[in-house]
């Protein structure tokens, strides 16, 4: 019973993935090119940046990068919280 359920789930997910692959557009022909052209032109013209990827990362999509940095900050906070030592146990921070 469990095996049959797993098999059914596998085939359903696999068929969905296969459908996605079949319907995929050919490489290098995106549906909408307006934003791509805007990024490629504007990043050099207005921002004077050669690396368009960095321009997108830190300027056009800057809020995403801010969220990424915040996630890292939260991760460090979590690690420090879980792995801390309590004061009465430690003798001399080592």
């Amino acid at each position: 019973m469990k095996k049959a359920l797993a098999l059914v789930a596998f085939f359903v997910i696999f068929s969905f993935l296969l459908l996605g692959v079949v319907q995929m557009r050919p490489f290098g022909e995106p549906e909408n090119e307006d934003m791509d052209d805007y990024f490629l032109g504007d990043s050099q013209k207005r921002h004077e940046v050669n690396n368009v990827v960095t321009a997108v990362l830190f300027d056009y999509r800057g809020l995403d990068t801010l969220g990424e940095a915040t996630i890292l900050f939260a991760a460090v906070s979590g690690v420090l919280t879980v792995l801390r030592r309590f004061k009465d146990k430690e003798e001399g921070e080592k």
Binding site: N50, A55, D59, L66, A75, V76, V79, L80, L83
Partner: protein, 164 residues
């Protein structure tokens, strides 16, 4: 707890740490010119920390320093972003002015590789690099300190804590 590798490892670490850190700084500072950037350069700098931890077993008493550096990096990133609030947040207000990294490209086309460009993007790369380097170093150090990797053989963690 005290944990040191052999003299060979320590010597190689002494030789390699400085080039690794310099390469990380290079990646961060050239983030607006070449592949790479703040996250990648910070990770490279943190790898040098991993090398130091493996070879010497300790970083000294720098946990609070690393924590503050990380917080300062993130705060300055947000500050630089919000300084452009006259137009929008994350507006590139430095480019085109005479400020450092505010130079302009003479032509548009292939990458001439001028480091004096980018405006706020370069500064944000710097801040993210500082933050990521400090954060990953802190994570590595805390995990190496508490985990069993660095424990000497034949002694439980309780004993090792008591010995310190």
């Amino acid at each position: 707890m005290k944990w040191e590798m052999s003299r060979v490892v320590k010597t190689v670490t002494d030789i390699l740490v400085a080039p690794i850190i310099i390469f990380g700084i290079y990646l961060i500072l050239h983030g607006h010119l070449t592949p790479g950037g703040g996250f990648q350069g910070g990770a490279v700098i943190a790898s040098s920390t991993a090398l130091l931890i493996i070879a010497y077993g300790t970083l000294g008493k720098h946990k609070k320093d690393l924590s503050s550096i990380e917080a300062v990096g993130l705060t300055l990133f947000i500050l630089i972003a919000f300084l452009g609030i006259g137009s929008t947040v994350f507006y590139n207000y430095i480019t085109g002015t005479g400020f450092p990294f505010g130079g302009s490209l003479p032509y548009h086309g292939p990458n001439p590789g001028y480091i004096n460009t980018g405006g706020t993007i370069t500064f944000m790369n710097l801040m993210v690099g500082i933050e990521v380097a400090a954060a990953l170093s802190l994570i590595l150090w805390m995990m190496s300190k508490r985990g069993g990797v660095m424990e000497p053989k034949g002694s439980s963690s309780k004993k090792a804590e008591g010995k310190d």
